[in-house]
């Protein structure tokens, strides 16, 4: 018993010695929301991103380090639409943090504020790991980013009213730059309109929808199921009759499936950053879209 008490005292001291965090703690499930919160919050926020562009956000372990971070979060920003269902509920119940529970201003599901695509008509796991709410990878359409930016600004002001003015002016400045960038991207991406492509996972559905490309096949036989030899063989046949112009896979996918199909069908493959941090150039949200468009234009030339 005495040793337990000693331990308690020692750990109490260790924690008291930590510097008091002045900035608002933002816990972002994915890097794009982390980057966006950073744009809007500046030095008023301290952003932690639970995942990176090199991870599959469907399959994340509820690691102790994530519980430690969510424990002290003031605002949680996630994609939602069941993308994080395998790990976020566990983090929330383990956190002992009432500020970021479902239904509080500190809990933000970005996908609730945009129109979702691919909402399944039939729900059955035989169809793969489908999301009842629709495709959750909404961040690949820049117009969704502006919608979510407005919501984040509102929430930041709600949980940290003292800095509401800063959030408002930063959001305005960001959105001005962002809308100018969208106009530029739409011009740049014009040659992509109508281009048939093969994807690895349905991770870029919103981007494809925005740029007007045509998704003709995916390497995964069903959402969330890794490519199988038989499915790849079918794709090779399909590419003979209806060739796609490019095969895309994301920064967290293994390139093997794309390579296999690319070599046999002589269709170029290109890796796209899944989100901010997925490539050297995708340093922030602007770089993310710049790089996606640049890489695709390079491949379909």
């Amino acid at each position: 018993m005495r040793s337990i008490l000693k331990f308690l005292c020692a750990s109490g001291l260790a924690i008291a010695a930590l510097p008091a965090a002045a900035a608002l703690n933002v816990f972002a499930c994915e890097p794009e929301w982390g980057a966006l919160a950073q744009e809007l919050g500046g030095d008023k926020v301290s952003v932690y991103s639970a995942t990176t562009a090199l991870q599959d956000p469907h399959r994340i372990e509820a690691r102790p380090s994530l519980i430690a971070r969510i424990r002290s979060a003031d605002l949680l920003i996630c994609s939602g639409a069941e993308l994080e269902i395998g790990w976020l509920p566990l983090l929330l119940t383990q956190s002992g943090n009432s500020k970021i529970q479902l239904g509080t201003p500190g809990y933000l599901e970005a996908s609730q504020y945009v129109a979702k695509l691919e909402i399944p008509k039939v729900l059955d796991r035989a169809l793969g790991d489908i999301h009842p709410g629709g495709n959750p990878h909404i961040h690949t359409d820049p117009r969704n980013i502006s919608k979510v930016a407005a919501v984040i600004e509102e929430r930041l002001a709600q949980v940290d009213p003292a800095n509401a003015g800063t959030y408002h002016s930063r959001a305005k400045a960001f959105l001005d730059r962002w809308h100018a960038a969208i106009a530029r991207w739409e011009k740049e991406a014009a040659p992509l309109r109508g281009v048939p492509i093969v994807v690895h996972h349905k991770a870029f559905t919103y981007f494809i929808n925005w740029t007007g490309m045509r998704e003709v096949a995916s390497l995964e036989p069903k959402p969330g199921i890794p490519p199988t030899p038989s499915h790849l063989a079918e794709l090779i046949d399909q590419m003979k009759s209806q060739p796609a112009k490019v095969i895309i896979y994301s920064s967290y996918n293994s390139p093997q499936g794309a390579q296999f199909l690319s070599e046999r069908s002589k269709i170029p493959m290109v890796m796209l950053p899944f989100t901010v941090g997925g490539t050297e150039k995708a340093k922030d949200l602007f770089g993310f879209f710049d790089d996606m468009i640049e890489r695709l234009l390079g491949a379909v030339k």
Binding site: L8, L54, A68, L90
Partner: protein, 444 residues
Amino acid sequence: MFKKNALALAAAVALALPHEAWAQTQDELRDLREQVKQLEKRVTDAEQAAAQASNRPAGENAFNPAVSLILNGIYSNLSQDPAKYKLNGFVPSNGDVAPPPRGLSLGESELAIAANADHYFRGTAIFSVSPENEIEVEEAYMQTLALSYGFTIKAGRFFSAVGYQNEIHAHAWDFTDAPLAMKAFLANQLSDDGIQLKWVAPAPFYFDLGAEAGRGKSFPAGPDGGRNKNGFSSSNFFTHVGGDFGTGTAWQLGASYLTTSPQDRVYDDVDSTGTAVTNSFTGKTRLWVLDGILKWAPNFNPTETYFKLQGEYYRRKESGDLTFDTAGVVGTQTGGYGSTQSGWYLQGVYQFVPMWRVGYRYDRLDAGTASIGLVDSGALAAADFPILAKYNPTRQTVMVDWSPSEFSRVRLQYAQDKARSDATDNQIFLQYILSLGAHGAHKF
């Protein structure tokens, strides 16, 4: 459509106007265009909202809790009779420690139901249906959502936070059966009726402290069902630290200390003449557990490959009285009893390609030397307590499993089990595990 009509209307109006009003009309036209634009936006927004809204379930079952069902079945090929399974050197825990019956059998089917009750509480219930058609409440607890400062309270029946694997449901284990240490010290898996308070520290790494008070309804407490007394009969203190190394390794270390005072905790044995007797223990049990887990995946992305190393060390001290032959078949006698016993296992699991994993586990128990008062005084012989004769059980296990999706797994496992002092049991298991319904989230 709106746009076209409006523009046509605007054009008609513009044409009909005399020339001097042209500038003014231009302004109106611009306004009109702006209005049309806004109208168009409102229509698209409304359409989108309608599309989203129609996807929301309606009706009184819209608040159904998350329901999931675990199905599992097993084929066992055992060289020894599972009905005669025992861990020599250890007081039988009377738990579900024997391997499944030979041949084909159904494993436990598990029905889990969970939902937030309101903004304060979350409720979880897990019922298991045994192949013998018995329903057992495996877990049924409430958990707080609204406490702050890192505190969580859990109350009801739940798997105790003693050691690492005890808190994890059997369907999520990496091997078909429990480590020998869990079988010997926790009667396979310890769930108790109680209350748990846990605190997560506000630190950049993971650190928690927790305490549990329980009814003591099963081994290592006793008698079965718990004692007839107010207050609580078993307590457990635990702590964990954890974090990340670099960009691919996550770790967690834990320690726990469980104490309970069993009263008339009975077990069956045979005496030196071969007569079946029931003995019982009354006294104090103290169990220390150290556990560690390390998971590695490139960039923390376990989709392609990952490696998991897990180990636990158990050490138990028991002291009190041992009553020989409680039923008085050959003569009831009571004397002192004391023992210090330990056990550990270490296991590694490696996913070498997507869907496929291999694993190896080594188990070892150390029975130590028990001091039995009745034997020391010469009242009875050591042969009257054959199950307590010193023996160190060991086991080696290998497995390979295939998981075509997150919701199914087929596993083949081979074990060489030396739990009995007189025979080696070669065990082969072929098992399937399916998870239907709500997408479960698994503990680290």
